[in-house]
């Protein structure tokens, strides 16, 4: 298999285009800028359109417009730029326009705004959190698939390590299943018939062709997201079956935790990892099941505690939840600080572990249920 050494930004751009994305509009903001630059070259080669918008608000609205015509369209930003996009993301959720937002975040402080949303109304946003470039390449295509499947905007939560680290990847279109036809797209086909299609949050339709209106439509949208919540959660567990202590982490924090935990297991500690892959829907029921016999739940995230709320809501024994993360920012402000480092994370976990006694534990390294290879394939396997 021939591989190309690509940084995550280029790999995500190439993967999105392989998935059929033909419109991209965004505004530069590190570490998202690499993705915009890559798109500006690759989209032209693919015969699509890439626009450097004048602001994040303009970019996301351009993307909404392109998506309304039925094209696979995307935008991206990070941090405060995503904050600017909240209104448009909410509108697209309420008027059922699918597109992908590549949030190449600077750190893990975007969790709230991705999962709780800062726009108006009863909507939620499917958010995928890859742990490395390999998974980001898959998620770049899955994000479009889920957006089209549910007619809603989706977010891919990346970060500086995913944006800038290079690994060998082979990009090709993934077959992710059948999708409904885009018979709602504004493609001009009903021009002159008096029955034009509308993209309208209030869904009032026309006097001659009334829609559900705000009451019926917004209730239907709320029901839709409740239905998505029940089927689209994804997660991964490692060494969790016999764990006394369970670390919960997402994205790059989970990548580092995984390595540290493998080492701790080899030393005899009964510690495992629970990794939400979708931040929304948060895999609450799966976490409840995974924590039934766990004494301590250690939440590791590089922020002041955002996923912590969701972990507390679902952990089987809430009093055992401990926060071992924190705000940790590189001096440039653009990336992670010293907390995202294996020896530091190892110490934070170790302070909550009991000393290993002389006898080997049942969950020593080598347990097939806990190996990374056994837990892989969670992309499809995590959905209930």
């Amino acid at each position: 298999m021939t591989r190309e050494l690509l940084d995550g930004s280029s790999a995500i751009a190439a993967s999105a285009i392989a998935a059929g994305c033909r419109f991209f509009a965004g505004y530069p903001m590190s570490p998202f800028t690499l993705l915009l630059e890559s798109m500006s070259v690759r989209m032209a080669e693919a015969g699509g359109v890439c626009l450097n918008a004048e602001s994040e608000i303009e970019g996301v609205n351009m993307t909404l417009g392109a998506a309304a015509t039925g094209a696979r369209a995307a935008t991206g930003s990070c941090g405060q730029g995503i904050a600017l996009m909240q209104e448009a993301i909410a509108e697209a959720a309420l008027n059922e326009t699918p597109f992908v937002v590549f949030n190449m975040a600077r750190n893990q402080q975007d969790y709230y705004q991705c999962t709780k949303g800062g726009g108006w109304g009863d909507y939620r946003t499917i958010t995928l959190a890859p742990k490395d470039v390999y998974e980001a390449v898959e998620h770049a295509q899955l994000a479009f698939h889920l957006a089209d499947k549910h007619r809603a905007p989706t977010i891919l939560y990346g970060d500086p390590l995913i944006a800038q680290t290079q690994v060998g990847v082979e990009i090709r279109r993934l077959e992710l299943g059948e999708l409904p036809p885009k018979d709602w797209a504004l493609d001009g086909s009903t021009s002159g018939t008096g029955r034009s299609r509308q993209v309208w949050t209030w869904a009032m339709g026309k006097v001659t062709d009334p829609g559900l209106g705000p009451d019926g439509h917004w209730r239907a949208i709320a029901d839709k997201f409740a239905a998505i919540d029940a089927v689209e959660a994804r997660w991964e567990t490692l060494y969790a079956d016999d764990a006394d202590t369970l670390v919960v982490a997402f994205g790059s924090a989970a990548l580092f935790a995984e390595k540290v935990i493998a080492g701790l297991r080899a030393e005899g500690h009964r510690v495992g990892l629970f990794r939400p892959i979708t931040l929304w829907p948060f895999p609450g029921p799966a976490l409840l099941a995974a924590t039934q016999r766990v004494r301590t739940v250690l939440v590791l995230e590089i922020n002041a505690g955002q996923m912590l709320d969701d972990v507390r809501a679902w952990t089987a024994h809430r009093e055992g939840v401990r926060f071992i993360g924190g705000v940790s920012i590189h001096e440039s402000g653009l990336s992670y600080g010293p907390l995202l480092d294996a020896p530091v994370i190892r110490e934070r976990i170790l302070t909550h572990l009991e000393p290993v006694d002389g006898s080997p534990s049942a969950g020593a390294a080598g347990s097939p249920a806990g190996t990374p290879a056994a837990a892989a394939g969670a992309l499809a396997g995590g959905a209930r």
Partner: protein, 234 residues
């Protein structure tokens, strides 16, 4: 791990190695950290080549696993390495983390025309490592000036590193370097190729002064083309 300051060609050297190893069919991870300064600030790069070096899940350079997904094998290396089997130290400034994380028995290749030995962090334990034959010095910056290519010291170090470790075929380095150079730098290709050879020749000429690196075992690639590579240290 490769460490130096802005302007020493650290990123190009590391990316060249990463590209060459990928062209050789290996699983590779490249990661970097540097600031905004074009000259004088820290420049750090990490290259992990799957199946090469210590394969220890707790602190290892990387383990290649086959997941059976469309994207094939994955290298489980962290972008911020906890430990490394080798270090290329082009400057004593900003070298603390690299010196701290070089494994016992690992190779340390120093640019002796720039690095001030008494300003290296104590944690490197230079005296002990030197006695164990783990330190190799190449006067890369001086050699670069001698061939009229002062910017090429990083590639001299790379040529030396590959001669010491044989982690990739040397020919692949030149090809990778040419692919990496932007249009405005292509006039440096001939001198860059000369620099790669010069580093290798320096090692060959001084072979009696150091032991071959014990940290690197370079296993043969799987020939079945499954996309999964496994490796064991030599």
């Amino acid at each position: 791990m490769v460490t130096g300051i802005g302007g020493q060609g650290i990123q190009l050297l590391a990316k060249t190695l990463a590209q060459a190893a990928t062209a050789a069919g290996r699983e590779v991870m490249f990661s970097a950290e540097y600031g905004g300064e074009m000259r004088g600030g820290p420049s750090l790069a990490n290259v992990v080549i799957g199946g090469v070096g210590t394969d220890d899940p707790g602190t290892g350079t990387g383990t290649v696993t086959g997941t059976g997904t469309d994207t094939g094998a994955r290298l489980t290396a962290l972008p911020i390495l906890e430990a490394a089997d080798a270090a290329i130290i082009a400057h004593h400034h900003f070298s603390e983390r690299t010196c701290e994380r070089l494994r016992t028995g690992g190779l340390a290749l120093l640019d002796s025309s720039v690095v001030e030995r008494d300003r290296l962090p104590e944690i490197l334990d230079l005296t002990r490592r030197e006695a164990a034959g783990e330190i190799v010095e190449v006067p890369a910056a001086d050699l670069a000036v001698s061939i009229g290519a002062p910017m090429s010291s990083g590639l001299i170090l790379l040529g030396a590193f590959v001669a010491l470790t044989q982690v990739v075929e040397p020919e692949l380095l030149g090809e990778a370097m040419e692919r990496l150079l932007p249009a405005r730098r292509r006039q440096h290709i001939p001198k860059n190729l000369q620099a790669l050879r010069l580093g290798a020749d320096h090692i060959a000429a001084h072979a009696g002064h150091h032991a071959p690196s014990r940290a690197f075992g370079v296993p043969a690639l799987a020939t079945t083309g499954t996309g999964t590579t496994t490796g064991a240290p030599a």
